[in-house]
Symmetry: C2
Subunit: 199 residues, 2 copies
């Protein structure tokens, strides 16, 4: 048995996404040998994220508070972006991947909860009600950019149905992305053609 | 681009063993959504490991300071353990795996640095000089329990040669472990036969 202090930290790291106790133990042994400066930096960085990072009131993307009083992320606060089109993604890293293509000029909406949609009552985890509100405030087209996985497809269908009463155009990004793949890992060219090939 | 606070934490997590920027980003997004209590627990656990965990002066295993003044881990401080035999492992988790078999009653020695042995001048990272000192103080048998990988085999040969002048019996754990596999992942039965089948 590892000493108690080590066990506790292994448990904490085991709660990280996709991390099991063995990998968690490797993290702990890595930290045990890291310099004091490195540890301080890590702890400070964790604190800074918790303190400074907020979620945008419109799209739920993460942004760093800059004291301008706006509770919007950089994209939603940018009035030059097309307010008529809204791109729905599952998570922040998907938004980042799409932004890197520099092809999309509208706003985003981070839906969340797509991973759990095939579980019972899990549709609650998706921010569908919030999405309806956003759509209701003048959006003309919603682009669904969820992963072309079983979960993503199910979530897309679910959202499509939920948006039907609003008479908004709903498109999906083209199947440039290999079925079963993950949006986050697609290269920029593939993402670009996927955006152009929406139907 | 992610906000600066997020970037900084991604960089910190990217330094963890076998963690790339994408996985690091997932950690950050996980922490952004974690409760304050969970974050506090993580930060406290990191601090506790850094503060309480020391490395045993004999075997370099990690132990929690208990104020008894001994600078030895539980195993090395246990006078009922066989002082004649010394089991050389690469890292803490290998020691843990062997201890779980409850078959070995001697002491250990954590060699470290085996992963880098095939790189230039990397043999310096292994605690071979320290091992010689331990062997010189009355050890009769050294069991080499390094992974049967290219690195582990090379390190075993290196250590065997270094210990030759001391006239100590050097054995290696039996090849119950599949070649190319990792000691840390072997089941207890395999490890037990490996211990018994040493030659």
């Amino acid at each position: 048995m590892y000493p108690k202090a080590i066990q506790k930290l292994i448990e904490a790291f085991s709660r990280f996404p996709a991390i099991g106790p063995r990998t968690a133990a490797r993290f702990v042994f890595y930290l045990m040998r890291a310099s004091d400066a490195e540890i301080e930096e890590l702890v400070r960085a964790i604190g800074a994220v918790k303190q400074k990072i907020k979620f945008c009131e419109f799209c739920f993307n993460a942004y760093e508070e800059n004291g301008n009083g706006l509770k919007l992320c950089e994209i939603c606060g940018d009035k030059t972006r097309d307010q008529n089109v809204l791109c729905v993604v599952e998570k922040e890293s998907d938004l980042e991947a799409l932004e890197k293509t520099k092809q999309y000029k509208g706003r985003y909406f981070i839906l969340g909860g797509v991973q759990d949609i095939l579980k019972k009552e899990a549709a609650q985890n998706m921010k569908v009600e919030e999405l309806k509100q956003r759509v209701n405030s003048g959006v003309k087209e919603v682009i669904l950019a969820l992963n072309p996985t079983a979960e993503g497809e199910t979530a897309s269908l679910y959202v499509e149905r939920a948006l039907k009463p609003f008479g908004v155009t709903v498109t999906r990004i083209g199947r440039g992305i290999p079925v079963g793949g993950e949006l986050e890992y697609a290269d920029e060219e593939t993402l670009r053609s996927a955006l152009e090939g929406r139907r």
